[in-house]
């Protein structure tokens, strides 16, 4: 597997704690994501993996700790600021725009790149039309890449689950993100769909050079795909390293298999 060329750190999470009332979702967690790598976040149910992603893209505001993204440190930010900064994500339970076609969903991912104002769009003439066509070109490249050409005009609510996940990945890719957060991209998929999705993830990383942070429960997939793995359990980081290191870690084995009492 291709290893990331740089050790430059794209995102640094330092001492983040997050609590909902009495529930401590994250306790003093620090981790870094290097530019160009595929970083997996794993852990048993309720370990705080999704909370971690939500903190990174500004959904949750941590009680303590700071996040440094592209050299800028901040305690909290709004979701649209995160997207402006180049963080895209997909959701555990697909969060597509159900009433729109696959094409429109992915086109919506280009919102930030489109500049023409209301009046131009209303006329849909000249620069506005040119802009629309230019972005359609980019979106068609993504559609091509994800092999979803036949369904581009289908309302996403009618698509099977596996394809919906693919469209959602397409929408995130349309943002041309620097950091792509994938929350269980393979949940509920069969073996074949998992293989396809793994291929897309590797290709995205390889072809576009996108840094990827993913949460996944399928250990075989995680160990094969990722460059480095961080393990959370009950909101605490218990291991961090290459897949091989993590596999041998006694704390990780205990967390997953339980300890004899």
């Amino acid at each position: 597997m291709r290893m990331p060329d740089t050790s430059e750190i794209l995102l640094q999470v330092e001492g983040v704690s997050l609590a909902f009332g009495g529930v401590k979702a994250l306790r003093n967690v620090s981790l870094d994501i290097r530019k160009g790598e595929i970083r997996a976040i794993i852990g048993p149910n309720g370990a705080g993996k999704t909370s971690m992603l939500n903190v990174i893209n500004g959904f949750y505001h941590p009680n303590r700790g700071a996040i440094t993204f592209k050299g800028r440190t901040r305690a909290q930010m709004q979701p649209f600021e995160a997207s402006r900064g180049g963080i895209a994500r997909t959701f555990q339970n697909v969060a597509l725009f159900k009433g729109m076609s696959a094409l429109d969903n992915i086109m919506a991912g280009r919102t930030l790149k489109m500049r023409r104002g209301l009046l131009w769009q209303m006329l849909r003439y000249g620069p506005a039309l040119a802009e629309e066509i230019e972005h359609r070109h980019r979106v068609e490249e993504i559609i091509d890449f994800l092999e979803i050409e036949p369904i581009r005009k289908v309302p996403v609510a009618r698509l099977p689950y596996g394809l919906q996940k693919r469209v959602e990945l397409g929408r995130a890719l349309a943002m041309e993100p620097d950091l792509l957060l994938l929350d269980e991209p393979m949940a509920g998929m069969n073996l074949e769909e998992k293989k396809d999705m793994s291929r897309f993830i590797l290709d995205v990383n390889d072809y576009y050079g996108t840094t990827i942070a993913l949460i996944e429960h399928d250990m075989a997939v995680v160990m094969d795909l990722s460059h480095r793995v961080v393990v959370l359990d009950h909101g605490v980081k218990i291991a961090d390293g290459t897949p091989d290191e993590v596999k041998k870690n006694q704390g990780v084995i205990d967390a997953y298999l339980g300890i004899a009492h």
Partner: protein, 375 residues
């Protein structure tokens, strides 16, 4: 001849993104526009039935066009952006009264400052458009709560707009130029020196307005802004994550929607009613517009037209039918029957097809494409 796409190859994205990418649809639209722009005036000119009397033009086509325009406005807000509004009647009223004020001259005496703001009467076209603009500003103001509240609660907040403006136009005499009866008359309809007076002229005027606005609205909803509105409607959290600002998306939807509704309100007052009082824009008008959009099809420009036609024409048909069939019924019975049949039809339709007529048509088209095969 058949409704088929076979052989219609698109070689550019521009062709694929046309409003009507299918050739047969374009022909159908051309025929429809031809009838509306050329056929109807010709028939009316030669006094051919059913245009022999002005009834059809004045009592059916004119209100249909204006309310269809208002329904497009409501559909942008409710159907595309998913913000339920019960204040459409109020936005129509704002459009109508501000157009009236601008058309008859605005005079604001600021005695304590020692001067007065006076604007001479503006041309009718300008005052109608500025009336729409005023409605847009008011729409933005009453859209601000939508940033914090959703669904039924927002509906109640917009209801406040309805009752507020009902009250304002009834009680603040300045808006009605101190007319003792509270009823006001529209200025004469002069467009670039051309007087619009006869029913057919009024029809053409409204038709031009509706066609232009429908076209612009269609462009908006299939462009970037339209996608932002629909994204907010379908999943606001995910929308925020791809960089859509709810503030911008919701308030532009309120602004565009209220602008169109305001223009429709000004047309309703100036062209259809001629003289009116605040009752013309009551809560019933808001509900009527909302029903049009729901029955015609949420999130469909064409649906707005179908909904307007259904809501307007069906009661008239129900009213005429017993007399045409020669069934002797008292007027009260007819009125009651009208309500009963109308109500049950709406219930039936919404149960069978909650997405309205527009969805029925698109399903029909899909079937037609494959006909005679099931798939």
């Amino acid at each position: 001849m058949l409704y088929r796409e076979a052989g219609q190859f698109k070689t550019t994205y521009a062709e694929d993104m046309a409003i009507f990418p299918i050739h047969q649809d374009r022909i159908a639209l051309a025929i429809l526009l031809g009838i509306a722009f050329i056929g109807v005036p010709l028939l009316a000119d030669f006094d051919i039935w059913p245009f022999g009397s002005d009834y059809l033009l004045r009592a059916i086509l004119l209100p249909f066009l204006i309310l269809a325009l208002a329904a497009i406005g409501v559909n942008i807000l409710v159907g595309y952006c998913g913000q339920i509004s019960l204040g459409s009647g109020a936005f129509m009223a704002v459009g109508a009264y501000s157009a009236y004020k601008l058309g008859t001259g605005v005079h604001i005496p600021l005695a304590w400052l020692g001067f007065a703001i006076s604007i001479p009467p503006l041309p009718v076209l300008l005052s109608i458009l500025l009336g729409g603009l005023t409605a847009a500003v008011v729409g933005i103001l009453f859209g601000i709560p939508s940033l914090r509240i959703k669904g039924l609660y927002l509906a109640v907040a917009t209801l406040a707009a309805q009752f507020f403006f009902d009250w304002v136009f009834l009680r603040v005499a300045w808006f009605t130029n101190y007319a003792p009866s509270g009823s006001v008359n529209a200025p004469t309809l002069d467009f670039f020196g051309l007087n619009v007076g006869t029913p057919i002229e009024r029809y053409m005027l409204c038709l031009i307005f509706v066609t232009v606005f429908a076209f612009l609205a269609k462009n908006l909803v299939r462009g970037n802004l339209g996608r932002q509105w629909m994204a907010i409607r379908d999943m606001d959290i995910a929308a925020e994550l791809i960089g859509i600002r709810p503030l911008y998306a919701k308030l532009t939807a309120f602004a565009v929607s209220s602008f169109i509704i305001g223009v429709a309100g000004a047309l309703w007052a100036f062209v259809y009613l001629g003289s009116w009082e605040p009752l013309a824009f009551s809560i019933e008008r808001s509900l009527q517009l909302l029903f049009m959009v729901i029955i015609g099809g949420l999130g469909s420009i064409m649906g707005s037209f179908i909904g307007a036609a259904f809501i307007l024409i069906l009661p008239i048909m129900l009213n005429l039918l017993p007399t045409q069939l020669g069934v002797p019924l008292s007027t009260e019975t007819i009125t009651h029957l009208e309500f009963i049949i109308f109500g049950s039809l709406i219930c039936y339709l919404l149960i069978k097809e909650p997405h309205g007529f527009a969805r029925l048509i698109s399903i029909g088209k899909e079937k037609l494409r494959l006909w005679p095969f099931p798939y």
